[in-house]
Point group: C2
Chain length 146, copies 2
DNA sequence: GAAGGTAGTCAGAGATACTGACTACTTTGG
DNA sequence: CCAAAGTAGTCAGTATCTCTGACTACCTTC
């Protein structure tokens, strides 16, 4: 675990910086009741609605955890649960207008941070970084989908 | 927050893969009572002992949280608290023999994962990755120290 | 239409992290 | 030398996130 500068730590530091900026931007825009875990789930809700199990698998949490987070998002008015017309066991989690206002704010913050990184590293290095991480994902991500 | 393949997500996926492997190795070696948060703190304990406040700052948690985690590590026999000879307000958190056995196991797992990544990406790309992340750290890490 | 699988919830628990208030000790400035 | 201010750490209380296990309701298949 210790290794002069463990590459895991380096990955984490950059990741955390990105996440902090995105959440700060969302909070600054007045959406202060969104927590990181809720945000992660919210990003994964499909345009046409998602099932709880899909969200759970995609976010790599249990159905119970996903249900808990969706409860909170529902209370905050970011999603609603509708019956799934095709399967009476399931319910579809759908984005509300409030969520559709919020998501671009986070996305803009991410783009801003990426632009800063590109400016610091240079365009070529930034592209290499993205490319390398994308390749790495092939052997590190059990859920290549989104 | 959404951006085809957000670089934050890519960073996180690789980081999580590394962390999971390290903790799996530690647990497989029989240290099953160590949690990720405890592990993060444990890695930061200095050879000569660390103060709680130092650990808290380094791990970016409050003193209270650090104290709680050190309590658990102490109960598990991984660290001990001794009086600080230089300052009677403080106490030094020191690694025990058990922790000194454990830490190399985690480090070995990290090295193994790095070797796999190098083999998959090629030596040149792996070095570029480390180098780029190290540069990035200069603008993303408020605590460049360890 | 019975058997087994899938979607989701309920109940209970533990880990992680926070804020605020406090004690004990050290350092500093008059 | 001592009062004021600062630092180290703890205690109490709370919120968040996540889990396991057990359950109901519904669907699919033979």
């Amino acid at each position: 675990m210790t290794d002069e500068v463990n590459i895991g730590v380096l990955l984490f530091v950059a990741y955390r910086a990105m996440e902090n900026r995105a959440f700060a931007a969302v909070a600054a825009a007045g959406y202060e009741d969104i927590t990181p875990a809720q945000g992660k789930l919210l990003q994964r809700v499909d345009e046409d609605g998602s099932r709880l199990s899909e969200l759970a698998e995609s976010a790599q949490v249990t159905k119970q955890t996903a249900g808990y987070l969706v409860d909170q998002l529902e209370r905050g008015g970011y999603v609603e649960r509708c019956p799934d017309p095709g399967d009476a066991r399931a319910r579809l989690v759908r984005l509300t207008g409030k969520a559709r206002d919020l998501l671009p704010i986070g996305a803009a913050a991410v783009s801003e941070v990426e632009a800063e990184w590109t400016s610091y590293l240079g365009k070529r290095r930034m592209e290499q970084l993205r490319d390398t991480l994308t390749r790495l994902r092939e052997i590190t991500d059990p859920y290549i989908d989104r």
